[in-house]
Amino acid sequence: MIDAAVARLGRRLRGLVGRPRVDLPLLGALLLLMGVGLVTLYSASDLDRGLVLAQALRFALGLACMFALARVPPLTLRNWTPALYVASVLLLVAVALLGEGRGAHRWLDLGVLRFQPSEVLKLSMPMMVAWYLNGRPLPPGWTTLAVVGVLIAIPAGLIAEQPDLGTALLVVASGAFGVFLAGIAWWRIGLLAAAVAAAVPIGWQFLHDYQKDRVLTLLDPEADPLGNGWHIIQSQIAVGSGGLWGKGWHRGTQSRLEFLPEHTTDFIFSVFAEEWGLVGVALLLVLYAFIIARCLWIAASARDTYARLLAGAISMALFVYVVVNGGMIAGVLPVVGVPLPLMSYGGTSAVSILAGFGVLMSIHAHRRRAAPW
């Protein structure tokens, strides 16, 4: 009987090593990224152990979410998708009606914890698009595209109204990538891009004044050195003064002397660039590229269209985080509140990103046997 138990345990262990539920290269890359994130945060917070510990706890919570989601088969996720989508949109409506937050209505107070329903959309949005496209003939035609457009526009509009343009952008991107990966014809992409370009002047009218300011400031930051331009100028000084090799860990004066605003959250990349230089930046970008590539590989070996599109959209959305945040740091994109994945301090974003990887891990665990290429 003991023998049987030992044998079962052995089988279990062999199964775990031979065919693990999680993708080990991806997990390794994520752990490395989190490590870099904590080290940078320790420096950026001026050696505040409490802050680093809090972030580490969030990572632990996120990893727990990831491992839990990795055990949920994609088919189950698919069945739950419409309900999850509707629930998350209803939460957004609830926030619009009774939310609270600094100037912007983003938070929902649940008594025990406060959270941002828009974070849930980062996952439920690509899930919904993948779910819908899964049942449609591909590549998608105009009707399909119109429906997907509505599915994206409802939550995106609600989030943009909060106003949280950064998250709205990420939600739109994660939905749009689903459509792109589903094989929408290039000429349709061209037409849609032209339509969006034409709509930009109209959309401009709906921006809040402070959002317009942020875009205008980008064009000429020196015109407003104490207001909106401050972030852009100080961030570029931090990055540029880092040079090729950087100033060294905890030697960055820009953040230590508090010239750099939000240096533990949205602007942590500046601290990293100042202290580790171009070499560090290049290695970090390579690490992100590896994670995205690995995720796309997992997507390509997925079992069905739903899993494939979902995994693909999640991985490409990750890229939007990196490029929008990096572009903001380097002064080429306006200041929007998009965190750098697993580097920026902050609870909900770390957990929602790791939950997204949990979905990828699940898709990986339930992949097709044969290699995709």
Partner: protein, 645 residues
């Protein structure tokens, strides 16, 4: 169209596991996905490379320029918090002041052994457990070179003692600051309120820029309601610092704009007299100018010293306040719940005229008990055997229950509730304070919503004498009395009278919300007013006007605190003073009312004996100022308004 194209290529009959698509289609979709994923990844790499190029441009090509700027980057922008606006009464008596004080601040970076230093310092300047706990909490959010307040409000002796021993405590400094002080203390605790330290709840809703450098925020009363006016606009200074973050010199300075000074409608003398008249007995009083809704006095007894809260109240003080009899922190005037009793009768009488169920001359026979037709239960009068045949005037002056039982019963609860709602019962008055109570206006809707029960006719009868479900706040009762005095013109009661932007500026009056007229027939008022004048001349508050130059109009109320069927009623002491909530409402001069006052005592013998003298004391405090204004008015012969404060 897309489907047709795929069909045309594939002639598969096998089915894949996804969405019931033919295997061939699934394979086509998969290969389509692979091509797209590759293309997508190509774009991603392109974008990341572009980003890398931008970083390289900043970090290599422009490195020298940015390094130079980073080294020159020694100019910090520091916020300068604005001075909080002051609060005055209507005559310019200071109610909330900013006074200079000194506190101990510690710069953790310069302290080698914090615990040892604190222990040594405690022998020089007493440090409470509260001080140390707050110090540790504040220290968490700050950097080592930022100083953290340790002890607020040092006494002169403490400053002297510390100065002598200063050499022993590097990194500890005495720092001047402005703190809020309330010179009149407890008299205004429930009106002006108090400021307190900004806590994490406040931080979640505050504009960080507007409150940079500010440590305190209005927590209750006027301080809270007019926070936006009182706060002001912060300025900033640009300071050059060295690499260790020590300031070298100030380069630029934009002065902060102090907050607005507020002039309240309250008269501090009347307020003090009202507070004193209670002699510590629990209750509330409110005085309102019926011509414009300005609140002249508003007291809640017992009160407390608001100065205790400004720099964080100690646990011992707070525990003492919570344990004190009659809950001093309770804002009775604004949110206390009282049974109005007979003070409702003038309103009920008026409602009877307004709805047409009675004419002023109609009489009712009071025989000691009122019966709903066909029911055996009797509703009693105060006088055994009744008051005989009475009209409205006598019914008010003698407080004859039967008259109002029958008026309410004839009106029916729906019309009753509709007319009484016009006097503002059952909803907040809209005064400029936070947390106002609503009271209860008995109605079918209220009972269904709160008790889930239908309405019974007997409840209409007792509602007619202000009993049953009725609950009013003192402010509601005062507001309604002011409407009675103003013959049906409703002004939203308000405390803010004028604001002053800079010290040199003239205070500008705050525009009042437009009054609304709620009861229309002029003739209806005379009988009610006459009844209220008779209350003082010959009725339940006989002799209250002794030595008072103006005609008073008033009404007593004596409500039972406990139901007679309640067990507490038989178990409590039998003295009448324990059993009754007593009230009095009045306005004067009856011909041209300029003040309406109400007083509520939580325990007393009767409205006439215990509450009415408080109202008289308030009127006595109001009288000298009024006589002066009237004399001035006569002298100029013009209807000039009161001089601006």
């Amino acid at each position: 169209m897309a489907r047709r194209r795929l069909r045309g290529r594939g002639r598969a009959s096998a089915w894949s596991d996804s969405a019931g698509k033919p295997l061939k289609e699934a394979q086509l979709e998969a290969s389509l996905f692979r091509r797209r994923a590759l293309a997508g990844f190509g774009l991603i790499v392109l974008a990341l490379v572009a980003l890398g190029v931008r970083f390289a441009w900043l970090q290599i090509e422009r490195h020298d320029e940015f390094r130079a700027r980073s080294e020159a980057n020694r100019v910090l922008t520091r916020p300068l918090p604005p001075a909080r606006g002051l609060i005055y009464d209507r005559n310019g008596v200071l109610l909330a002041d900013n006074v200079a004080a000194f506190r101990l601040e510690v710069t953790p970076e310069q302290v080698a052994d914090m615990d040892a230093m604190l222990a040594a310092l405690a022998r020089v300047v007493p440090l409470g457990a509260d001080d140390l706990a707050r110090f540790r909490a504040l220290r968490k959010g700050k950097r080592a070179y930022q100083s953290v307040p340790l002890r607020m409000k040092l006494s002169e002796e403490e400053i002297a003692r510390f100065s002598v021993n200063r050499w022993a405590f590097p990194g500890v400094d005495v720092v001047p600051y402005l703190t809020r002080a309330y010179p009149l203390g407890a008299d205004f605790a429930h009106v002006v309120g108090y400021v307190g330290r900004i806590d994490s709840d406040d931080l979640a809703t505050l504009d960080k820029g507007e409150y940079a450098g500010t440590t305190h925020i209005g927590k209750t009363g006027i301080e809270r309601y007019y926070e936006a006016r009182l706060h002001g606009t912060p300025g900033y200074e640009q300071v050059e610092v060295n690499a260790d973050h020590r300031p070298l010199r100030v380069l630029d300075r934009v002065a902060p704009q102090p907050g607005e000074n507020l002039y309240l409608s309250i008269d501090a003398d009347i307020q003090a007299a009202a507070q004193a008249a209670f002699a510590g007995r629990a209750g509330a009083a409110v005085a309102i100018d019926p011509r414009n809704g300005e609140v002249l006095a508003m007291v809640s007894v017992p009160s407390f010293d608001p100065n205790l809260f400004v720099n964080g109240i100690s646990h011992a003080d707070y525990a003492a306040l919570l344990a004190a009899p009659h809950h001093p922190l309770m804002q009775r005037a604004l949110r206390g719940s009282y049974i109005p009793g007979s003070t409702m009768k003038p309103f009920v009488g008026l409602a009877g005229l307004e709805t047409g169920v009675r004419k002023p001359g109609d009489t009712i026979l009071s025989v000691g008990e009122f019966h709903i037709p066909g029911q055996s239960r009797g509703y009693r009068d105060d006088a055994r055997g009744g008051h005989g045949r009475v009209d409205l005037v006598q019914a008010i002056s003698q407080s004859v229950n039967t008259y109002f039982y029958s008026v309410a019963f004839d009106m029916g609860i729906d019309r009753f509730a509709e007319v009484m709602a016009r006097f503002g019962f059952g909803r907040p008055t809209g005064i400029d304070l936070v947390g106002e109570g609503s009271g209860v206006l008995p109605s079918r809707e209220w009972k269904r919503a709160h008790l889930h029960q239908p309405w019974y006719p007997g409840e209409t009868v007792i509602a007619g004498i202000g009993q049953g479900y009725w609950v009013v706040t003192p402010l509601q009762l005062a507001n309604a009395t002011a409407m009675l005095a103003g013959r049906g013109v409703r002004h939203t009661p308000r405390l803010l009278r004028a604001v002053q932007r800079g010290l040199g500026d003239r205070p500008t009056p705050v525009p009042a919300p437009a009054p609304e007229r709620v009861v229309h027939r002029e003739g209806d008022w005379q009988a009610v007013e006459q009844g209220m004048v008779e209350v003082i001349r010959s009725g339940t508050a006989r002799g209250l006007d002794k030595g008072f130059p103006y005609t008073l109009a008033g009404k007593t109320g004596t409500a039972e605190r406990y139901s007679r069927t309640d067990e507490t009623w038989t178990s409590i002491s039998t003295s009448a003073i324990e059993r009754h909530q007593v009230l009095f409402e009045a306005f004067t001069p009856a011909e041209d009312p300029r003040i309406a006052v109400i007083a509520v005592l939580e325990a007393g013998r009767s409205g006439g004996r215990d509450a009415a003298p408080i109202v008289r004391a308030i009127l006595d405090a109001w009288l000298p100022g009024d006589l002066e204004r009237q004399a001035a008015l006569q002298a100029t012969g013009a209807a000039v308004a009161e001089p601006a404060p």
